[in-house]
């Protein structure tokens, strides 16, 4: 144990040797525990995490985003198509989306774009028609207009836009941020201005819609132009995003009664993916008879809520309980969970849903049996 004479004199003394070694061991331990962390904060990771997308939200984006993994169904929505990874503990998570300009969301302020189905084939169906809703259009508006008014009253800066989905055209009906037009109806003390404006514009729109369709025969299965109103809603929301650094949190609410038109599938899916990319949830409230597969997929993929109310007499209750809350508060509520969305495809030849199929590598047509030649694009 005799150290060489040229080494430190202190080491020879037992009283100084052991505490020194203990101190060294302690330093070694501390370095091993924390040193690895220090080593990994090199310049590169430091840069990437602070200067990239940097969504500098006043509200922590984890809370405001609709797709919180509170339910297994909702987390699968994120898993299904290229997930946004959002562990709750880390505030600087970069959400997976295509490059969007950095956005600042205001607390609690929402922009609600309502896509309202005004298809006369649905609302005005004869009682013998099994697709007739149990609610008439006027009673439906009785539920809808107070709901719109309540959204406007919830916050001073809330904004509501109504787009009508007609059978031959789509158009803007109401925008709460545009200056109100002075007319005799709006000055009435009994009706708030939103009601009168919506009713007036809706009537004008329905007259125009019928005018357009007068020359042509009734087409299709009585579906309305859902893809048109979704596209208009998305264009409007992009305009709001461009308006300034601080803007409300947008969402789209689809009130649909007509059945889905299969010719609109590609356009509706394009709109859904664009909404997913801009992080705009699409909520759906189906007042028709059957479920809408398009809207189920839309709500699932974008992280919105899909609801088919059982008792249409209480529609206002459903609307105000489920769809009136802003996105930030949704993480605290138990909202209707998505029920088994079926993402299987149908084959082009028989139109039945298949588990395994054959896809053409050129045109992506789906077949149930192997063919030598693709009938859609003609390649073999």
């Amino acid at each position: 144990m005799r150290a060489a004479p040229h080494k430190l004199k202190g080491f020879r003394n037992t009283f100084t040797r052991f505490p020194l070694m203990l101190l060294l061991a302690a330093f070694g331990l501390i370095y091993r525990m924390y040193g690895s962390n220090i080593g990994s904060i090199d310049g590169r990771t430091g840069f990437t995490h602070t200067t990239r997308w940097a969504p500098q939200s006043l509200v922590d984006l984890d809370d405001s985003a609709p797709s919180t993994p509170a339910t297994p169904g909702k987390s699968l929505a994120t898993v299904l198509v290229t997930p946004p990874s959002k562990p709750q503990h880390s505030p600087q998570i970069i959400p997976f989306m295509a490059p969007a300009p950095s956005k600042l969301y205001s607390d609690d302020v929402s922009l609600l774009v309502v896509a309202l189905d005004t298809n006369p084939f649905f609302w005005g169906g004869a009682s013998s028609n099994p697709n007739t809703p149990s609610l008439s259009f006027s009673r439906f508006l009785n539920h809808l207009l107070p709901f719109l008014n309540s959204i406007i009253l919830l916050h001073q800066l809330n904004q509501v836009v109504v787009i009508a989905t007609g059978v031959n055209s789509c158009d803007y009906i109401y925008d709460s941020s545009s200056p109100p037009m002075t007319s005799a109806a709006s000055e009435s003390r009994n009706m708030p201005s939103v009601c009168s404006a919506v009713l007036q514009n809706l009537e004008d729109f329905l007259i125009r819609d019928r005018q357009i369709g007068k020359d042509e025969l009734a087409a299709g299965n009585g579906s309305s132009l859902l893809s048109g109103s979704l596209s208009l809603a998305l264009c409007y929301i992009q305009r709001v995003f461009r308006a300034g650094p601080l803007h409300p949190q947008p969402r789209i609410l689809c009130l649909q009664g007509s059945p889905d038109g299969p010719e609109q599938y590609v356009a509706v899916m394009n709109a859904i993916f664009s909404a997913q990319r801009s992080m705009i949830p699409i909520d759906s409230c189906v007042v028709g008879i059957q479920h809408s597969a398009f809207l189920q997929q839309a709500s699932y993929i974008t992280g919105g809520v899909y609801l088919k109310p059982q008792h249409l007499d209480g529609l206002f209750q459903y609307l105000s309980m489920v769809f009136a809350t802003d996105l930030q508060s949704r993480s605290f509520l138990q909202l209707p969970k998505p029920v088994g969305v079926d993402f299987r495809a149908s084959c082009f030849c028989h139109k039945k849903t298949i588990d395994m199929g054959y896809i053409c590598s050129v045109c992506l047509s789906i077949y149930c049996k192997h063919h030598k030649k693709c009938s859609t694009c003609g390649w073999n």
Partner: protein
């Protein structure tokens, strides 16, 4: 800096290479010291010296500063790009939707240059991550692999995979750059990997080249001919200067060669490779590929997932052929090898098959005075009020099919993200095409 000269050196033994490297490093250190002494600028001063933002101001006739109209510049740029993309043919061109792409990242000594801040390697890694996400967003059925070139040797960083997470994790790890760059070694490695993929896939390589030279163990022209025979489409995005060998490679294989001027330009050039390129018909055999559409497992069912090899409760998907559980889609079943997708993944590629026609500019001069009243006052998409077309910059565009007017921002959004014309979708018409159904 390697002097800016275009060189090709043939090196046959590694020991020669190591010695040569050390000599060159000594020379480089001397150059760097000279540069450091000559400049003597702080980092904030260098920002002014390098960027010179005052040069982009303009003056009008009376000498007052004119505000730069970025919006119309951006729109003009966008329309040029759109015209160049659609100029080849007005009808639908076939695109390769199932792509197997290798991204080759150059981690040679030249990647540590600081002309892109903080260094070329950092900028490349950052933008490749964005590119990977965009790529899988636009091509959900395709696969990407990553290859790096360092010390003259090409190594595979990640294998061909269909989900972005593994690649991004590898990119975020520590990357170091050193040594020379070798184009031939990279092409040989990629050629070896891409020869194993199925015949219906389109083979592509995207090389991000920072170096100004390539150090190859053999004849790189022969490798280029091999790639051409194997039908691999090679594209290069250069970060330093145009190099003849890269240009030759791209011309021979049918790819595109671009050189980035600065960071934002690099990002733009890189993201241009995300949408599928026009396919050359002989390159991939058209086939019917067997794919499975799994159903979601019921909540509460306990199963062992085949990707993580651990028991999971609820969720997940069941392979229709072998009934194994997988966690996410799209993927390949590990047990039976069936490609598993869901219908939204296929739907993501439909807009490549049914593109919308570009909008035409509404001319600013009109024949008669009455036409001002007939023009719509608002953009059809966003209801923004459009001023009358009398002033010089073009402020409105119209769809050739439905004749609705749109503002410039809606035009960009519709063509880049939405892929639906709101005017055409809001019109009920008998459409003979687009009769796909799920």
């Amino acid at each position: 800096m390697s002097g800016g000269a275009v060189e090709r050196r043939f090196e046959f033994r590694k020991s020669n290479g190591v010695r040569g490297e050390r000599e060159e490093e000594d020379r480089e250190e001397e150059e760097e010291e000279d540069e450091g002494n000559g400049r003597g600028l702080e980092a904030w001063e260098r920002a002014y010296a390098d960027e010179r933002s005052w040069e982009s101001l303009q003056e009008d006739e009376s000498g007052l500063l004119r505000p730069i109209d970025n919006k119309s510049l951006y729109h003009a740029q966008y329309r040029r790009r759109l015209r160049s993309l659609s100029s080849s043919s007005s009808s639908r061109i076939q695109k390769g939707l199932i792509r197997y792409l290798y991204v080759v990242v150059d981690l040679s000594r030249a990647a540590s240059e600081t002309d892109f801040r903080p260094s070329r390697m950092v900028v490349v890694a950052k933008h490749v991550e964005a590119f990977i996400r965009e790529f899988f967003d636009q091509n959900p059925l395709s696969h990407i692999g990553l290859v790096t070139i360092k010390d003259g040797v090409a190594r595979c960083l990640t294998d061909l995979g269909g989900s972005p997470d593994s690649h991004i994790k590898a990119l975020l790890g520590k990357l170091e750059c050193s040594g020379d760059s070798s184009l031939q070694n990279a092409l040989d490695l990629v050629h070896g990997y891409l020869s194993k993929i199925p015949s219906y896939g389109h083979r592509e390589v995207l090389i991000l080249y920072s170096a100004l030279s390539t150090c190859d163990p053999g004849d790189v022209m022969e490798t280029i001919q091999n790639c051409k025979k194997a039908k691999i489409r090679c594209s290069v995005v250069g970060l330093s200067a145009e190099i003849y060998i890269c240009k030759h490679l791209c011309e021979e294989t049918g790819g595109s060669y671009t050189v980035a001027l600065d960071e934002s330009h690099f990002k733009e050039l890189l993201l241009e490779h995300a949408p599928p390129p026009p396919a050359i018909a002989e390159f991939a055999v058209a086939n019917l590929i067997k794919m499975g559409f799994p159903q979601r497992g019921a909540d509460g069912v306990i199963a062992i997932c085949s990707c993580h090899k651990e028991a999971k409760v609820g969720g997940g998907y069941t392979c229709p052929r072998c009934k194994a559980r997988v966690c996410e889609l799209p993927t390949e079943c590990r047990i039976c090898g069936l490609t598993l997708v869901s219908s939204p993944h296929l739907a993501r590629s439909y807009h490549h098959l049914f593109p919308i026609s570009p909008f035409i500019e509404v001319p600013s001069t009109l024949p008669s005075n009455n036409s001002y009243q007939r023009l719509p006052k608002n953009c059809f998409g966003c209801q923004l009020s459009l001023p009358n077309p009398g002033s010089n910059p073009v402020l409105r565009v119209a769809c050739p099919k439905c004749k609705q007017h749109f503002c410039l921002d809606c035009d960009i959004y519709i063509h880049e993200s939405l892929h639906n014309c709101p005017g055409c979708e809001s019109l009920r018409e008998s459409k003979p095409s687009n009769t796909t159904k799920v």
